[in-house]
């Protein structure tokens, strides 16, 4: 619970209050911006669509109006063309010129006068009867009652004249026209191969009237309406004629209607002068289709390059007659308003929404600041309280009365503080209790260790004695308080080699002992082989200090947390123990000597008495034959004694090193049996032989005989002359085996480990030397074989002799159980 500098509150870059305000502003701004953008986009689109549709409707309406205007003018002209006087006059001129083919000469003559402006010539046309008639029509005198001709239309007509079927001027009012018109476009258009049709000419500049004009040419048909007899031609100032109609239609500051022809030439416009083309030629195909519509174009046709919405519509009737037919050109209205003005409402809306949005955001920021302050202040209070709890310094409970989750949180903080305080108090008690327990445990351990009489040291990795019990202190003259800083080898006055060994074992950390154990497991020692004395001396864990001999043992203690592991060393003073052991060994040896002596005496005594008896008998014996027989017996007895002595010599290890030869195991077994039979009472012993055949092994026959005889003797003796002796030979795996089994009582378990000890016997004094098994094993081992005894109490005893087989004997000495060569024979030889 120490307060390090890192636990101090970090300088936060963005406080909670700032974050709250920013998030509130974001919540306000993002929808505002998105909504504004959407509204602007959608609004612009809708305004464009609505404007386009309105413009289209307006264009159609204007087109209809202008069309009617033109149609009225055409009708006016057509009424003149239908006048019977005019028709009759023109028919007459047609018939006349057909009858008198001299019209051309007359005409050229008259034409010169006309060009020269001769008053008579001019008057003959301008003031003739037909011209007067035209003027009457023109001024409206001939109009139907109530049908008024607009002044403006009348004023805009600059020229009105009539030609005959050849295009020659017949009558005219207004400005003075040309005399001959048969080559003009309008005349040919209206005459139209004598079929006749209405022909409205596109706007062009006319020098005569000094204005941009369009013309209406109406053919004058004959009475039958069969063919054209003349053309009535009207030249009208376009601006003057159309401007009252188009200029009146204005909307907004820039919105207006204009009239253009199919080439994009302006016929009438409040802004552009008549006769100029539209500023953008690309616009013309967009606005001159034959159906009304509206289009969003990239220019306005008035010189501006801004995106414009343009409504347009053709003049349906007029277009039919322009330049003769609708294919040759048409007239269109063109409705346009500056896009700034069209989109002004949405821009105003945008500005106002932006202004209100900004105001709203400012309000939001203010409210956000207030709200954030209300939230953040109690949180700050809680933070300070938490810091105080962390230091354990919170004395007064936190007091927040906001009535929401923060108040609950404050209460939880208070509760937590109380619980923490209680928990800390309990924890201190527990720690004290545990400490006392540990101390008690340590004291009891010390007392136990002190009570133990063997010296015990605890040594750390630096060979320093950490602890020594009372016995150690007393044994090695240490004061208890100095034990903490003294080297182990200062305490133990060891010679150099023992010190080195001890140090090595200490460094290995007791691993030496383990390794030894592992080695022992790897090569299991024959339990019947006595331990080698040499080994014991080398590895026995003991050392000598002064006159005392100590056995020692390392042990390892588990390391305490955070400390080095400690090794323990237990010493055991075995000085007295080993002395006792030596005395025991000595006593055993002396006892064995006594047994040996008694045994040898016994063994030699019997034959010796036999020899003495036989010798006495020879002395009194007359018969040479019988004496010889006694002598033979004496020799035999002597040999037996020699054998006993040789046995003894065998025990003591004097051996001749003769060469082993291949011998038949069965033969040697039989010979050994014969030897035993010659010396022992085997009348009640049944001998079973189970021979495998000619099992040949490498051995010396005499010694092998002796070893086998010893074993058979033991068996016979164990059975006390009554029972079954089974002799078995076998050959297997380059090993020849002979097994001798008796039906005796067996060997008790406690004796089983001692049976190979020299002089160990269970028989009475003088019955056996106790060397039989020892000798037998020694002999068998010498040949590279092995002797094993298997026995159990009440189960009889089996001696298993294995010997290395002679290589030549392999293959022929297998024992076949189906044809046992065994022969059961009772002992026939009874000496």
């Amino acid at each position: 619970m120490n307060t390090t500098p890192s636990a101090a509150p970090r300088q936060t870059r963005w406080g909670l209050k700032a974050k709250l305000i920013v998030s509130m502003l974001l919540v306000g701004t993002v929808p505002l911006v998105i909504g504004l953008g959407m509204a602007f986009w959608q609004g612009s689109r809708e305004i464009r669509d609505v404007s386009g549709e309105s413009f289209k409707a307006l264009a159609m309406e204007a087109a209809r109006k202008l069309d009617l205007l033109v149609a009225e003018e055409i009708a006016q002209t057509a009424r003149m063309a239908n006048d019977p006087t005019i028709i009759r006059e023109l028919e007459h001129r047609r018939d006349m010129s057909e009858n008198h083919r001299v019209a051309g000469v007359e005409t050229s003559d008259f034409e010169a006068k006309w060009e020269a402006g001769e008053p008579n010539a001019v008057r003959s046309i301008m003031e003739n009867q037909l011209s007067a008639l035209l003027r009457e029509y023109y001024t409206g005198i001939r109009n139907a009652p109530g049908q008024l001709q607009p002044q403006i239309v009348r004023a805009s007509t600059k020229m009105l004249f009539l030609t005959d079927v050849h295009g020659l001027l017949v009558a005219a009012i207004g400005e003075k026209p040309e005399l001959r018109h048969d080559r003009t476009r309008w005349w040919q258009g209206a005459y139209h191969k004598a079929v006749g049709r209405l022909f409205i000419e596109d706007v062009r500049f006319d020098k005569r009237v000094n204005a941009y004009v369009f013309t209406i040419s109406v053919p004058v048909m004959d009475q039958l309406r069969y063919e054209v007899v003349g053309v009535l031609h009207r030249v009208i100032d376009a601006k003057e004629f159309f401007s009252p109609a188009t200029h009146a239609i204005r909307f907004g500051k820039t919105g207006h209607v204009m009239l253009i022809d199919s080439n994009g030439l302006v016929i009438s416009c409040p802004i552009l002068p008549t006769g100029v083309p539209l500023s953008d030629p690309n616009l013309v195909p967009l606005v001159t289709p034959l159906q009304p519509g509206w289009v969003q174009a990239s220019s306005d046709g008035h010189g501006g390059r801004s995106t414009s919405v343009i409504g347009f519509a053709p003049l349906p009737e007029t277009s039919r007659a322009t330049n003769g037919s609708i294919e040759n050109g048409s007239w269109h209205t063109f409705v346009w308003q500056a896009s700034d003005e069209i989109f002004a409402p949405i821009q105003h809306l945008f500005t106002w929404v932006t202004v209100f949005g900004v105001a709203g955001l400012a309000l939001l920021a203010t409210l956000g600041y207030v709200a954030a302050s209300r939230i953040v202040t109690p949180i700050r209070q809680l933070m300070l309280a938490a810091r105080a709890i962390g230091r354990g310094e919170l004395k007064t409970p936190i007091d927040i009365r906001s009535g929401d989750e923060l108040e609950e949180l404050a209460e939880e903080f208070n509760r937590m503080n109380q619980q923490l305080n209680a928990a800390f108090a309990g924890l201190t008690d527990q720690v004290e209790l545990k400490t006392r327990e540990v101390q008690a445990l340590q004291q009891s351990t010390d007392h136990i260790l002190d009570a133990v009489s063997t010296p015990i040291f605890l040594i750390d990795a630096d060979e320093q004695v950490r602890y020594a019990n009372r016995a150690a202190c007393e044994s090695f003259g240490m004061r208890r308080d100095q034990s903490l800083s003294i080297s182990l080898f200062d305490v133990l006055p060891l010679d150099a080699s023992a010190r080195q060994r001890l140090r090595r074992e200490f460094r290995a950390g007791g691993a030496v002992g383990a390794a030894e154990r592992a080695a022992g497991l790897e090569l299991p020692r024959d339990p019947l082989t006595p331990p080698s004395d040499q080994e014991l001396i080398d590895h026995r864990p003991e050392f000598r200090i002064g006159s005392r001999l100590y056995q020692y043992q390392w042990f390892r203690l588990p390391a305490r947390p955070g400390q080095e592991p400690v090794s323990g060393l237990v010493l055991r003073d075995t000085t007295d123990e080993s002395r006792l052991h030596e005395q025991l060994v000595q006593a055993e040896k002396s006892g064995s000597l006594g047994v040996l002596t008694a045994g040898i005496g016994h063994e030699l005594n019997n034959p010796l008495f036999g020899i003495i008896g036989l010798g006495e008998a020879i002395q009194e014996e007359q018969s040479l034959e019988r004496a010889k027989a006694y002598a033979r017996d004496i020799v035999a007895q002597g040999r037996r004694m020699a054998t006993v002595i040789r046995d003894f010599a065998g025990v003591t290890g004097k051996e001749e090193h003769d060469q082993a030869v291949p011998v038949s195991l069965e033969e040697e077994t039989d010979r050994a049996l014969a030897i035993v039979q010659s010396t022992s009472d085997m009348k009640n012993v049944v001998v079973n032989k189970r021979y495998a055949g000619d099992v040949r092994v490498l051995a010396k026959p005499d010694q092998l005989q002796q070893a086998l005889a010893n074993l058979i003797t033991n068996a016979v003796q164990a059975m006390k002359g009554t029972g079954t002796l089974t002799l078995t030979t076998a050959w297997s795996d380059r090993v020849g085996t002979v097994t001798i089994t008796d039906s005796g009582p067996g060997i008790p378990k406690q004796h089983l480990s001692k049976i190979f000890d020299p002089f160990f016997t269970t028989r009475d004094q003088g019955e056996g030397s106790g060397l039989g098994l020892t000798v037998a094993r020694r002999i068998i081992r010498k040949f590279g074989g092995e002797l094993r005894i298997e026995s159990g109490e009440g189960r009889g005893t089996t001696c298993i002799v294995t010997l290395p087989a002679h290589p030549a004997a392999s293959g022929e000495g297998t024992w076949d159980p189906s044809t046992p060569q065994s022969e059961s024979q009772s002992a026939r030889l009874s000496s």
Binding site: M221, D222, L224, R225, Y226, L290, P316
Partner: protein, 198 residues
Amino acid sequence: MGSIHATVRIAIRTLVIVGCLWSGSPLLFAKDGPGGDGIPPDKVADYIHAILEANRTIYTTSIVNRLQEKGILSATEHWEQDNTLPLPAQLLQHTGRLVAESGRGIRFRLIGLSPIYQRNAPATQFERQALETLRQRPEQPITGIVTSGKKRYFQAIYADRAVSPACVSCHNTHPLSPKQDFKLNDVMGALAITIPLE
């Protein structure tokens, strides 16, 4: 749609050309006068009338009605702007104009006592009387010699009936139509065929 238009135009042209060929040849015989081996002008006019009638009938039933029934294209007055088919009456007028423009002299046009456009009103007294007569007796055409100045023409005027519902509905609904109670098969006007006699 484009192909249909093209087909329609070609069909119209074919009808007109056939009409012209048929109508051109009798004129030669007409010039031979009544006494010779020529064909009298009233017969020639009859031939022409039969061809014109047949052409318009085929156009009405096999082209206009079928296209209209299938909803592909309808016939309207302002067919150029509306991108539609000409009305059967317009077919006759336009072919008449085309024939006139060919310069062969023969003319034919539709006239009526209650025309939508004044230009189709009777031009002469003869035409007006013929229309009056045909209204009573539509079976027989009215023929006669008329003059314009010194020119003489043979004119034959045949009663023209409302051959299809389109004729009736157009005349009965057109804002400029002075008479709006036509019925199918009524005599709406007449077809005037004019043949010059010089």
